[in-house]
Structures are given as structure tokens and as C-alpha cells.
């Protein structure tokens, strides 16, 4: 793909990861989004998370719908394939992609219009199907690419740039995911890299369906006073309950110090089969990120109070994913050939016999 490439020369001062790669190797071409668009911060967080996890930059499947948000997969991980599909249908395309090759890291990028309006049905059903992927919603409460109409996540009373109030109650994707039974549900803010990057890591490594609803302000159409999705408003109204980090096998020790930042807060380490650790920092002592119903209740109550709850709101580290449910072979289906798939003419003869 030809694009305005950033110089890929290894800057001496850039740290290299286990694979000997730097951040640059995880980036993409220069973004064409508006300067200051929250979505670019989300892309940056994904780049950083993948680089820090030392994941091979070509082993991702990036799927999106249509929208400014859905353009972003072309701005990160340029060594991986991306698919900018049709509006609101990313979940189905991602489902197919994940079924075809369970070994790729599947990242779905969508917008609030893409997911909460036209795509709501597909969103609910991919949650049900427990597709093993990270589903990121760049949530700005508006239709950026079509120039600023209210989206379904826009809060009632929040105003348009021209000052018109939104008449409808918002659809809260986090609540919906919790209610339908997603095994990893988080909310974050594009302006809070410190919270977002670790969440992306945890979501990527989570087995099963992981949702991160990222409030990602639209500077062109929904960043004014009166909007509840502006940088300013969100900064002033978030309550972070549980921060998370994902520490890879062997790198647990290395990362101990992060923990310090989070005092006072109780820390919980969830050990994964492969020895890596999902570390949870409870910022709200009586919040239990493993109690789905309580999480849903809390989110709904705070929402009623105009507060936005962020962090890793719920996680079931031992959840099953679609391949386990469908009991598919461990080899990616797209690598199976005639020998694996075709029963041959003899079997067919027997079948013929059964129709005589």
C-alpha cells in the first residue's frame, strides 16, 4: 500500500521490544482525521499496547465499519491486513475473520453510529457469540463523517454545535454488553492514555469477547460546551473504578512498580494459563469487577447521576470463546486443505447408496 510513510529508520533512542521492533514498526501512515480528533489517540494507544506486548505486527486482522473511527485501522499496524467493510456490519465480518483464522489477533474498530445505531443488532449478537476479539468503539456521541448529527450514544439534553438539545435517552454500550453477558467490558477516554493503553493490552490478551467503549471527542462537531462528550465535560465527570494491566509471562516482575501509582487501591492478580497476569487495581474498594450484575447496576446508577464510570468494569478471565463453543480444530480453518476437508469418493458412494 502506498501512503505518506513516516520514516521507518530505527531512531537510536527508540526502545526496541522483545522482537527487536520499535513503536514505529506498529504504526501506520499519517492519519487524515482532524487535528485533535480523539480517534487518533485511540490508534496511538493500540500501537503502544501492541508494541509493549511485543506482538508480531503482521498477525492482526483489523476490521471496521464506516465512519471516521472506522478509517483508523488504516492508521495503525500497517503490516497487518485491514478491512474497512460496510456501515454497521463490522461484527459479522469480524466473526467470519475470526472463524477463518483463530490465531490472528482480531481488532474491531467501530464508531458510536456504526455500533449503536445501524449496527446495534450485530453488536448484541457478536457479544452473544463470544467471538475472541477486541472490540473498540470510538465513541464521540456524533456522526463525524456525515458532519455532526446526534448518534444513539448522545445523552439526552446534550446539545448540538448549533445548540439544539438531543431529545432521546442514550444507548449505553457498556450496559448493554454487561447485560448480554460480555466477558470483558471496559470504558475509557481517549484523553487518558495511562488508563487506556493497559486496558487495550488486557483486552487484546483476553480470551473471548472484549469491549472497550472509548469516549473519543469529535473536535469538529461535538467538543463544544453543552456537549457531554467534549474533552472538558468528560474530564470532569469520569469515575474510574478499576484500572487494569496485562503483564506477560516473565515480565510480571518488571512491571511491579506500576502498581505503586495506584495506591490507595487493592490489587488483584489473575494468573493466566500461560503464566501471564491480568492485574487489577481497585480504585473503588467495594467495586467487584467479577460481579456482572453489580457492575451493571453501578454503571446504570452512576449514569443516572450524570457520571461516566470508566475502567475495567467487568471481566471473567476464564470465559469461553466461540471456537471452544463450536469445538473447532486448533489449526486455523483457512489452512485446511483437500486432505483435511474432502471425504473422498468412497464416502460419497456410501452416501449415494443411502438415497436408493
Amino acid at each position: 500500500m502506498t501512503f505518506v510513510a513516516k520514516p521507518k529508520v530505527h531512531h537510536p533512542r527508540l526502545p526496541v521490544n522483545e522482537l527487536g521492533l520499535t513503536r514505529r514498526d506498529y504504526e501506520g501512515p499519517v492519519s487524515t482525521l482532524c487535528a485533535g480528533c480523539g480517534h487518533d489517540s485511540v490508534s496511538a494507544a493500540i500501537v503502544q499496547a501492541c508494541a509493549e506486548l511485543s506482538l508480531p505486527p503482521h498477525r492482526f486482522a483489523k476490521i471496521s465499519g464506516i465512519g471516521c473511527s472506522s478509517k483508523t485501522p488504516s492508521y495503525f499496524l500497517s503490516r497487518s491486513h485491514g478491512f474497512n467493510s460496510v456501515h454497521g456490519r463490522m461484527p459479522s465480518v469480524a466473526t467470519g475473520a475470526n472463524l477463518a483464522n483463530r490465531e490472528l489477533y482480531c481488532i474491531g474498530i467501530s464508531g458510536d453510529g456504526d455500533t449503536a445505531s445501524i449496527g446495534l443488532g450485530q453488536f448484541a449478537h457478536i457479544v452473544r457469540r463470544r467471538i475472541n476479539m477486541l472490540y473498540v468503539v470510538d465513541n464521540n456521541g456524533t456522526y463525524g463523517l456525515t458532519k455532526g448529527q446526534f448518534s444513539a450514544t448522545n445523552d439526552r439534553g446534550s446539545t448540538s454545535k448549533k445548540g439544539k438539545p438531543n431529545l432521546y435517552e442514550p444507548i449505553d454500550l457498556v450496559s448493554m454488553a454487561l447485560q448480554i453477558g460480555a466477558s470483558f467490558v471496559a470504558r475509557s477516554f481517549s484523553g487518558d492514555k495511562r488508563q487506556l493503553v493497559p486496558l487495550v493490552k488486557a483486552g487484546l490478551m483476553h480470551r473471548g469477547f472484549a469491549l472497550i467503549d472509548v469516549i473519543s471527542p469529535c473536535v469538529a462537531f461535538n467538543n463544544h460546551g453543552g456537549s457531554t462528550k467534549s474533552y472538558e465535560y468528560v474530564r470532569g465527570h469520569t469515575e474510574s473504578v478499576v484500572a487494569a494491566d496485562y503483564l506477560r509471562n516473565g515480565y510480571v516482575a518488571a512491571a511491579e512498580e506500576i502498581t505503586a501509582d495506584y495506591e490507595p487501591g487493592t490489587t488483584e492478580d489473575v494468573r493466566m494459563p500461560d503464566g501471564s497476569v491480568l492485574r487489577l487495581f481497585k480504585l473503588d474498594h467495594d467495586y467487584d469487577p467479577h460481579d456482572r450484575v453489580a457492575a451493571l447496576t453501578h454503571v446504570q446508577e452512576r449514569q443516572a447521576a450524570g457520571e461516566v464510570v470508566t475502567g475495567l468494569l467487568y471481566v471473567d478471565p476464564h470465559a469461553s470463546d466461540c471456537h471452544e463453543i463450536l469445538d473447532t480444530v486448533h489449526r486455523p480453518l483457512n489452512t485446511l486443505n483437500e486432505a483435511d476437508l474432502c471425504p473422498g469418493n468412497e464416502a460419497l458412494a456410501a452416501i449415494n447408496e443411502s438415497f436408493r
Binding site: 500500500m1 467470519g96 472463524l99 463450536l326 473447532t328 480453518l333 483437500e338 483435511d340 464416502a347
Partner: protein
């Protein structure tokens, strides 16, 4: 009375959900096993229980398998439709009914022989469970028919035994019910009737199978690993059969794990999205649906055309726009499928006419979709998909390799120094794909439904857009050389007839009927779209060309004219769209009328 062997139409009139299907099916299967060609038609309502349903069996030693109008033997078991059922019988035909209650005067016909059997009464004394009585009713008339038509009894009892293998307790009472019917007929009725069956070997090694099962097997043999679908009559049994066979034939020996993934999606938009996502990621994937599903898949089909993603769809067509008549057959989705989506789009279609072709084309569609990097739609219909049809046995060449089309693996990528996803290196309009995750540095690109250049870079340049669309047009011409060729039978006659799909069933008979009145036609059965040049040569070579369509708007004629730039004046449209399959009589009538109307010459001698 002169006996007519192996040549009649029998229709069973029942109540939906009363369990008649299995008895009626056994009737047809019995004759089939006696080597007699039969074709079956299940004419059922969009309802689960209680409404009228009919099952028709055509018995014909000459191998005419199309629907024939008129009924010789009516097995009238549904009081609600009694009147119309009696009316449907051909003069000289038979009416078999349950005379436990007397037949209403007004219903009698002097030109029809009544065969009354007091089935209810007979069963009353035998079984006390009314539910059982209901079920055995059907078995009982089957037994009676065995005697009346001379069906080999042990063939039937044999089937009962195999059908209830395992539940042996059911075998005896069923056979007993058969005997009740047979014995009553033997004792009280003059057996056999004018219409009789007798063993022959006209069936040969053919099998009796429904097209949907055959299509499912084709997808399985063709290497489909992902099936995403949404239930809809008449396509549901494709996915269900695929699952049934995959669970038997696609299990990993060591692990017992599955070498396939089936998703019952939340709707058709999702089903096609899953197929496209899977195919984009290198798996062979398909969906099965019917008209309403095709309509919902329209936007996604445009994406797959423009983004060049393989996808296989099996459209089992039903009748009507909108919901129409969901349990009736038609060929009315041609335009919707061929030009699905806004913008300039065209899709490859295949037209199977037999279960064997459902199998072959389903497998071939997977090859074509990979080769052409575009959707391929197999256009079946309810008549073919849901009825048991006589068919050549299914065959698979174990030497055959899947054609995955132009795909670059890691080594190939190493060797090319500047690769462009949409570069046409071979002059066939087809570029080289890569699967995600193939190579650490090379071959990654961004797939999009938006305009892009040869290197997959986004562009709004008019020139790049036009270049891309012209390449897709070239690819379309390539497709015309790869789809199955039309099946042509031409001996230089001045008139020809073009047909496709299930219009093939009555064609042999129609041609013979026409020949009897001095009308001799060359034939061409279309099997793929876009059309190869052989199709247009056939049309050029004939002064009059009939085109048979089972839809109102002569959709195949439209495709022929539009794609070939033909003068439609040269094409005479033969249409039927009542929802039953077109009959030989109907084709013959319309062709003959045209000959008369336009004073075309009839020959008493067949030339050549």
C-alpha cells in the same frame, strides 16, 4: 380394460402436520426401488399444522419427470379440500377416500371410479389411541394402494423395517396397518386397477435425493469450512444438511474436534457478512438463503464485488416479490441476484437443473469464487431443492484439487519486489490476493469498498476509478469463459428453445409433444452467467428462439438481451409463474400457439 403400466399421476390430499409425509414418501420410494422412474412434488402451505397439503407422485417409465397436469388417482384424505380434489381427477381416473362417513352426493362424478375404504372404522377396532389411529390412517391407505397398484409388498415392509430400525416396537403395528389396508382392498375391491406398476430397470444407478442435500454435500466436498445462514424456506435444509454431514465427515480423528464452523446468524445481513469476513481471511465460506435474504444481502454483495472478496451463496428461489408464496417455486430472483447492489455491479450465477448439478455447482462455485475473487450465486429453486428428484449419483474425482485462485504465500511475496493487490498482471482482470498474516513485512493491504488504485491506496482520482471499473469489466469477461458452458443439443433446426434450472424437468416431454405436432426444436440449457459465446452462437444460428422463464418479467430473456446486445424481437418468451413448476403441456401449448399465430412451418418429418 386396457392396463396402463408405470404411467400415471397420483396425488395425496392430506392435512398439514398429520404425519402423511412419511407414508407418501414411502409410496414413491417403493416404486423407485422397483426400478420405476418417479418424481415427487410436495405442495405444502406456509403453515405448520392444520392447513391442506398435497403430495404428488408422477410415475413414468419413459422418464418424464416434469409436473404433468391432471390427476389419475386421487387419495382424498382432507375433507376441507374434498370438492377441489375430486374436481382435479382426470376423466377415467380413480378417487380413493375414507368411506367411514358417506360421500356427499354433490361430490360424486360419473366419470370417476370411487374407491371407498372405511379406514377410520377399520382402525377404530384395531387401535384405541386416537393419535395412533391418525398416523396409521396414512399407512393403511398405503397398504391398500399396494394391492390396488400391484406394488411389491415386501419392498414396502422392507422400508418400514429400515425406517424404524432401533424403535422396533413400531415396526409391527406399522406393518399391521399396511396389512389392514392391503387385505381390505384384496377382499372388497377389484385389484389391481387400470393403472398399475411393474418392476423395470429404468432407474439404473440413479439416486432419489433433494437438491438442497446435494448442494450441502457439494459445499462439504468443495471444502467449505464456514457456513453462516439464517433460516428461511425453502433454503433451510441446505445448512441443516451441511451440519448433519459435517458432523459425520468433518471430525478430526485424533481430537474429535470439528473441521468446520456453522453459525446460525441473527439475520441475512450478518450471514453474508460472516461469509465475506471468512473468505477475506482465506477460508471457504458459503450461505444459503432465498429471495428475501438476497434482498437483504444486496449492500454486502456490492462490497464483495467491488472489494473483490470471494463468497458463495445458494439461493433456493421461492415465489413472489416480498413474502409472496414462500412454499411455492419460481425462478424470479435472477435480476435481483445478477445486478444486486447500487452502482455498476454484476454477479456470477450458476443454474443447476438436477441434484447432481446442485452438488457439482456448489463445489465449483467455491472454486470460481476464489478464482474470480467475487461472489458466485447458485440459483436453485424450491422445486429442485425441497423435492426428492431422480438424479445421477454424486461423484467426486479424488485427484481433483481445489482451485484457490491467485493467492501469494510468504515465499511468493519474497520474490515479488513491488506487489499491487489490484494490478492486472495476467490480462484477465484478476489481481493477486494475500491472506492476512502471511508475511512479516510484505503483502499487507487495506481492503475497502471505496475507490483505490492498483496498490490498494485510497484515491478519488477519476482515472484510477475508471481503470478499476474497466478491470472489473474485463474480469467479468473472464468469468464468461470459466462458468459451466451451456448444454446444447443442436442439429441445425430453424427454431431453438433456451431454458435453465428446473424448466429442464418437463423439457424432454415437451419436445416429444411438440415433435408429435411437427414442431422440432434445438435446445440450449443455460448453466452459467455471464454467458459464454456458445450461447450467442446458438441464438444467432436460429431464426426463432424460445426462452423459458418461471417468472413474470422474462428475467432470463432480459439477461440475454442486456448482456448480449441482442434484438429481443428474436426471442419468444415462454413464461409460467403460478408457483407450481412449469409443466410439459404448458410449454407445448405456448410454443405451439406461437407457431400458429406467426404461421411458422411445421414438419411432419424430423429433418436430420
Amino acid at each position: 380394460m386396457s392396463i396402463i403400466y408405470n404411467d400415471f399421476v397420483i396425488r395425496f390430499a392430506n392435512v398439514n402436520g398429520s404425519g402423511s409425509a412419511s407414508a407418501n414418501g414411502m409410496f414413491a420410494k417403493a416404486l423407485f426401488r422397483m426400478g420405476i422412474p418417479v418424481s415427487t412434488r410436495n405442495i405444502f402451505p406456509s403453515n405448520i399444522q392444520g392447513l391442506p397439503t398435497w403430495f404428488e407422485v408422477r410415475v413414468n417409465e419413459d422418464g418424464y419427470l416434469g409436473r404433468r397436469e391432471g390427476v389419475d388417482i386421487m387419495v382424498a384424505m382432507n375433507a376441507e379440500t374434498y370438492a377441489e380434489d375430486v374436481a382435479a381427477i382426470n376423466p377415467g381416473g380413480y378417487l380413493l377416500y375414507d368411506n367411514s362417513k358417506p360421500l356427499g352426493r354433490e361430490l360424486r362424478r360419473s366419470d370417476v371410479t370411487e374407491i371407498g375404504i372405511p379406514i377410520s372404522t377399520l382402525l377404530l377396532s384395531e387401535y384405541d389411541d386416537p393419535k395412533q389411529r391418525g398416523l396409521f390412517k396414512n399407512i393403511t391407505y398405503l397398504g391398500a394402494l399396494a394391492a390396488l397398484l400391484n406394488i411389491e409388498f415386501d419392498v414396502i415392509t422392507g422400508m418400514v423395517s429400515t425406517q424404524y430400525k432401533g424403535k422396533d416396537a413400531l415396526i409391527r403395528p406399522n406393518i399391521h396397518a399396511l396389512e389392514i389396508g392391503r387385505n381390505y382392498a384384496r377382499e372388497y375391491l377389484e385389484c389391481p386397477l387400470k393403472f398399475q406398476v411393474r418392476r423395470t430397470d429404468e432407474v439404473g444407478d440413479r439416486i432419489m435425493i433433494d437438491g438442497n442435500t446435494a448442494a450441502a454435500l457439494g459445499a462439504l466436498y468443495g471444502g467449505a469450512t464456514v457456513c453462516a445462514w439464517y433460516p428461511i424456506t425453502p433454503s433451510t435444509s441446505v445448512a441443516e444438511a451441511f451440519e448433519r454431514y459435517a458432523e459425520r465427515l468433518r471430525i478430526d480423528e485424533e481430537t474429535g474436534e470439528r473441521k468446520f464452523a456453522i453459525v446460525q446468524a441473527e439475520d441475512e445481513l450478518s450471514a453474508i457478512g460472516i461469509v465475506i469476513g471468512a473468505a477475506w481471511n482465506g477460508a471457504r465460506a458459503f450461505t444459503a438463503t432465498s429471495g428475501p435474504g438476497i434482498s437483504l444481502m444486496t449492500e454486502f454483495l456490492g462490497l464483495a464485488y467491488f472489494a473483490e472478496i470471494p463468497a458463495v451463496l445458494i439461493d433456493v428461489q421461492r415465489a413472489g416479490p416480498s413474502t409472496g408464496m414462500p412454499t411455492r417455486t419460481q425462478q424470479a430472483d435472477l435480476l435481483a441476484a445478477a445486478y444486486a447492489s447500487h452502482g455498476d455491479t454484476k454477479h456470477v450465477l450458476l443454474f443447476p437443473a438436477t441434484p447432481r448439478e446442485c452438488f457439482d455447482f456448489a463445489a465449483q462455485a467455491l472454486d470460481l469464487a476464489d478464482r474470480l475473487q467475487t461472489p458466485v450465486i447458485v440459483m436453485s429453486d424450491l422445486e429442485l431443492g425441497m423435492n426428492d428428484n431422480l438424479s445421477e449419483p454424486l461423484e467426486w474425482d479424488d485427484q481433483r484439487r481445489y482451485d484457490r485462485g491467485k493467492v501469494l504465500d510468504a515465499d511468493a511475496l519474497e520474490s515479488v519486489e513491488r506487489w499491487g493487490r489490484y494490478l492486472d498482471l495476467d490480462g484477465d482482470g484478476i489481481g493477486y490476493r494475500t491472506y492476512p498474516g502471511t508475511h512479516p513485512e510484505k503483502g499487507a493491504f487495506f481492503t475497502r469498498g471505496t475507490s483505490r488504485d492498483e496498490f490498494a491506496a485510497y484515491t478519488e482520482s477519476p482515472e484510477a476509478y475508471v481503470r478499476n471499473m474497466e478491470r472489473l469489466e474485463l474480469k467479468w469477461r473472464t468469468a464468461a469463459t470459466l462458468v459451466p458452458k451451456a448444454e446444447i443439443r443442436a442439429t441445425g433446426k430453424h427454431a431453438g428453445i433456451i431454458f435453465y434450472g428446473t424448466s429442464a424437468l418437463p423439457m424432454e416431454e415437451a419436445l416429444d409433444l411438440l415433435a408429435d405436432e411437427g414442431i422440432h426444436l434445438d435446445t440450449m440449457r443455460l448453466r452459467g452467467f455471464p454467458f459464454g459465446e456458445e450461447v450467442y452462437r446458438f441464438i444467432e444460428d436460429h431464426e426463432v428462439v424460445f426462452v423459458v422463464d418461471q417468472n413474470r418479467d422474462a428475467q432470463m430473456k432480459t439477461l440475454l438481451v442486456n448482456e448480449g446486445g441482442l434484438d429481443p424481437a428474436g426471442l419468444v418468451s415462454i413464461r409460467y409463474y403460478g408457483g407450481l413448476s412449469i409443466s410439459a403441456d404448458n410449454i407445448q401449448r405456448q410454443v405451439s400457439e406461437h407457431y400458429t399465430a406467426s404461421k411458422l412451418p411445421r414438419l411432419t418429418e424430423v429433418k436430420s
